[in-house]
């Protein structure tokens, strides 16, 4: 298996090297799961467009930047929407003094935001970037906090100029007939602290500029200070307070297990699969409830029902993990403990929920998706054509609502998914309604997975119920690895550079909402304010993983 994987990787690397102009390549590196080509900083655009068009790597999953003592490095993690097993890292080193690198934003739109983040945190200048501003930190911030020489005691003065006088004449980019409107940072429908700089022409949106970073909590740095074995696992829960914590934990678990070569016992994989899908149901129900609120306003029936159904799932997860929100249940090499005793009662509890679910989902369909007013609002609004979705690196239900058949659970199998019977849900209509349908159907699929896992767990021989692999007390892996799982919002990837110490040298999180949100302007411009809100809701962004 491993050997075969390597040979595909080698083939891909050969293909890539052939496609690239000779003078662009500086060297090769070996990363876990993805081979790496090292490319000159002034030929990023030619290299990436060759890889995109010739080798078919149309998905720029993530952009990582990091500092070495002698250089800065930008890594573009590329893969293909059609074949997730084709993974390639493009490493772009730049000199340490005044790092300048060519921007990839003209090849992959999603790189625009990712490079802004790299510029913000590490100060790498991207030449030819359409809009190189800070993204997570305020525009007035001094210094680049991920640099080794960053002085964190330096006082920062952070005025928010946009809010200096919210009523002053401001008609950016549309003549005098437009009105500039700040939606957020505190607004009922930004689902967390997000700020949309909106230019309106009457009720129509001329321009949207999402301003993120209000709850940037240095998650990556905190993880870089934690030891692999125990101290990092609690953090992923905090990237998503919508219930998807277990999925996030799995992202870290998968990456470190690949890096440290840890084999997870099958029994633990089944428990992981079951609990992660319950976590996904939590998140999707929250979406449904909140979306009903976005479209209807105030406390509607669908909103409260969503919370009722979440409550049942939360009860189950509370029984299993002891927690309702910050589960901290996964461990490196398995899960914390076995399902609670008496086992049959627990399984009965899960089955009671999954058996009742089709009936509950019918209610959502009759209240929302079959409601003509709801359709009036959601059909043909917030359109995201598949090509645009791919350009922005959209994944998860957002991409699947645009007919992009991409799901990491199936395309790059992990856990127990490849041995279970379930389907990847896609809808081809590309609008808000399609995204709602995708999520409602995914709840059904997740429930089907949970049911199969319960069957497996119930029949598992008693002496083979190993919850954790035998993992050393301290982990000191080496190497570089980018690994992703299918989170509730899409592809949740983590890049770790391990340098042989107990803590990561670089820990980079690819929050799916970050990329999905970057598509908002493309979806909402030209629409009504009400649709802007509905479209934003349909992306199901969670600021915890956008701002990190």
């Amino acid at each position: 298996m491993q050997r075969q994987h390597h040979s595909t990787a080698d083939r891909l690397l050969d293909e890539a090297v052939t496609a690239l102009p000779d003078d662009a390549i500086v060297g090769r590196e070996s990363h876990e799961t993805a081979p790496a080509v090292v490319v000159r900083a002034d030929s990023v655009q030619t290299a990436l467009s060759a890889l995109r068009s010739t080798v078919g790597l149309d998905h720029c999953s993530c952009v990582t930047a990091q500092e070495y003592p002698d250089r800065f490095e930008t890594i573009y993690h590329l893969t293909s929407y059609d074949d997730r097993s084709r993974e390639l890292s493009v490493v772009v080193p730049t000199k340490h003094d005044g790092p300048v690198s060519e921007s990839a934003a003209s090849v992959y739109r999603t790189a625009e935001w990712h490079e802004r983040e790299a510029y913000d945190l590490l100060g790498i200048e991207y030449e030819d970037h359409p809009d190189l501003r800070r993204i997570l930190l305020p525009e007035t911030w001094q210094g680049h906090p991920l640099r080794a020489d960053y002085d964190q005691d330096r006082p920062q003065i952070v005025p928010l100029k946009a809010h200096a006088n919210p009523l002053q004449e401001d008609h950016r980019g549309g003549g005098t007939d437009t009105m500039f409107l700040n939606i957020g940072p505190h607004h009922p429908s930004t689902h967390g602290v997000m700020h949309l700089k909106v230019t309106l022409d009457g009720e129509q949106v001329v321009d949207v500029d999402p301003d993120v970073g209000y709850i940037h909590r240095c998650e990556e740095q905190m993880c870089q200070r934690g030891t692999y074995r125990h101290q990092i696992m609690p953090y992923p829960d905090r990237w998503d307070w919508g219930g998807a914590g277990l999925l996030n934990e799995w992202a870290y678990a998968r990456t470190i297990e690949t890096l440290a070569d840890i084999e997870v016992p099958e029994y633990a994989q089944v428990i992981r699969t079951m609990s992660a899908e319950l976590s996904r149901i939590l998140s999707h129900f929250l979406f449904t409830a909140m979306y009903a609120l976005d479209v209807s306003g105030e406390f509607t029936a669908a909103f409260m029902w969503g919370f009722w159904d979440r409550e049942r799932v939360q009860d189950i997860l509370e029984e299993l993990t002891g927690q309702r929100l910050m589960f901290n249940y996964f461990r490196v090499g398995g899960v914390a403990w076995d399902v609670p005793e008496p086992r049959d009662e627990f399984f009965e509890m899960v089955r009671a929920f999954t058996d009742d679910l089709p009936h509950r989902l019918d209610e959502y369909h009759s209240l929302l998706t079959n409601n003509e007013t709801f359709q009036l609002r959601c059909v043909d609004t917030g359109e995201l054509p598949p090509a645009v979705a791919k350009q922005h690196g959209a994944t998860g239900p957002v991409a699947r609502g645009s007919g992009v058949d991409y799901d990491v659970r199936r395309d790059d199998p992990y856990g127990y998914y490849d041995r279970l019977d379930w389907d990847v849900v896609t809808e081809d209509d590309c609008d808000n309604f399609a995204r709602v349908l995708v999520r409602l159907q995914e709840i059904e699929e997740s429930a089907a997975i949970v049911e199969q896992c319960v069957d497996l767990l119930q029949d598992w021989p008693e002496d083979e119920r190993t919850c954790q692999a035998n993992v050393p007390r301290t982990l000191k892996p080496t190497g570089e690895c980018y690994r992703a799982v299918e989170g509730a919002k899409g592809e949740l990837g983590i890049y770790i550079r391990a340098d042989g110490t107990e803590t990561p040298a670089r820990f980079k999180i690819r929050g799916p909402s970050f990329s999905n949100l970057s598509a908002l302007p493309a979806m909402a411009e030209g629409e009504y304010v009400a649709d802007l809100v509905a479209t934003l809701g349909s992306l199901d962004t969670i600021m915890g993983e956008v701002d990190r």
């Binding site: 009903a292 509607t300 029936a301 609002r377 009400a530």
Partner: protein
């Protein structure tokens, strides 16, 4: 012609005030005070308590039940809470307009109740005045509220408020016309604008089925007009699917974004009074006013039940129906409701012409 005595006149003779201008004025004041307070009391019950209870029932949960029997004392608690809050006035607010707006919103609805025949309660006939132009009057004063909303939105010096005010104007213009036209179709039947007369015409028996006589309430005579009126009324009072002037989650709270404390209470009172006024107009025009089984002296209870019924309907819509978008709302108003209400008017005119 209505023969019954109006409430001020009854009160004047009961108290024994002289039949002078002053005596009539005092009696009218007392009567208006009583009716106004009853309506305010309904609103007080509806806002902090009934609305929560009803929404909770629709959304499968329990609401206020901690304070007092059935949680009823929440009304007192909320009144204290709301009035005790700081009154925050934006720096750039346009002062007289900003302060007047809540009064206009609440007051315009109160004025409407002056001509509504609310039926008998014991020896009293609860109606403050019965001018011949009653229906025109009630539509006229009810639409003054739009002025209040515009003032609130414009004077708040807030972009969300402004958007809300513009939406409110667009919505009220689009829906007032179907509302009045549908009301006019009732007038074609009654051939009178006098409220008591409109109610009196509906007391005749429409058909008798198995011993039960069904009165000729206009909701039965012309259900189409009734449905149109109910829908237009939802837009008029700004409830889902037409709550776009406030549209929380879009424009925060629309025209009321910048109002707090007692001003907020006044605007909120105004909104609920408008729902009840809408209910009162519907009851009068389509549901036989205060008519119902039992003696006439309990008519007021039937009237109360009817306006609460309409309130319940608005809350149901609020809980279950998503909101339409501003352009869709305008389209439904001008291309749908307006055409339908004209069709209804012509049809009614034809029917009345043929029958009469």
């Amino acid at each position: 012609m209505a023969t019954e005595q109006m409430l001020p006149e009854t009160l004047r003779t009961m108290i024994g005030l002289p039949d002078s201008v002053l005596g009539q004025a005092i009696a009218a004041f007392i009567a208006a005070f009583l009716v106004g307070n009853v309506m305010l009391a309904y609103t007080g019950v509806a806002g902090p308590w009934a609305k929560r209870k009803i929404t909770a029932a629709f959304t499968d949960r329990i609401a206020v039940d901690r304070i007092g029997p059935f949680g009823l004392l929440i009304i007192v608690a909320d009144a204290v809470r709301l009035l005790a809050k700081e009154l925050i006035i934006p720096e750039n607010a346009d002062r007289p307009a900003y302060d007047l707006a809540p009064v206009v919103v609440a007051g315009s609805a109160m004025l409407g109740f002056a001509v509504i025949p609310m039926g008998g309660l014991g020896p009293l006939n609860i109606q403050l005045a019965d001018p011949e132009s009653g229906l025109v009057y009630v539509f006229a004063v009810a639409s003054i509220a739009t002025l209040g909303l515009t003032m609130a939105g414009y004077a708040s010096s807030n972009k969300y408020s402004m958007l809300g005010a513009l939406r409110a104007i667009a919505q009220n213009v689009a829906y007032e016309i179907p509302l009045v036209l549908t009301g006019a179709s009732v007038v074609l039947f009654t051939q009178s604008l006098q409220m008591s007369e409109i109610v009196a015409v509906q007391q005749q028996t429409l058909v008798t089925v198995a011993g039960f006589s069904i009165p000729s309430w206009f909701a039965f005579v012309n259900p189409f007009a009734f449905a149109l009126f109910m829908i237009a009324n939802l837009a008029e009072v700004g409830r889902n699917p037409f709550d776009i002037p406030e549209a929380p989650t879009e424009i925060v709270a629309g025209y009321q974004t910048e109002y707090s404390s007692v001003y907020f209470v006044l605007i909120y009172l105004g909104e609920f009074l408008h729902i009840f006024l809408g209910g009162a107009i519907i009851a009068t025009l389509f549901l036989g006013g205060a008519a119902g089984p039992g003696p006439e002296s309990i008519g007021f209870l039937w009237f109360t039940a009817k306006i609460w019924g309409v309130f319940l309907f608005t809350q149901w819509a609020r809980s279950a129906v998503p909101r339409v978008r501003i352009d869709q709302l305008i389209e439904i108003g001008w291309k749908g409701m307006l055409v339908l209400s004209f069709a209804n008017l012509l049809l009614t005119a034809l029917l009345v012409g043929v029958i009469a």
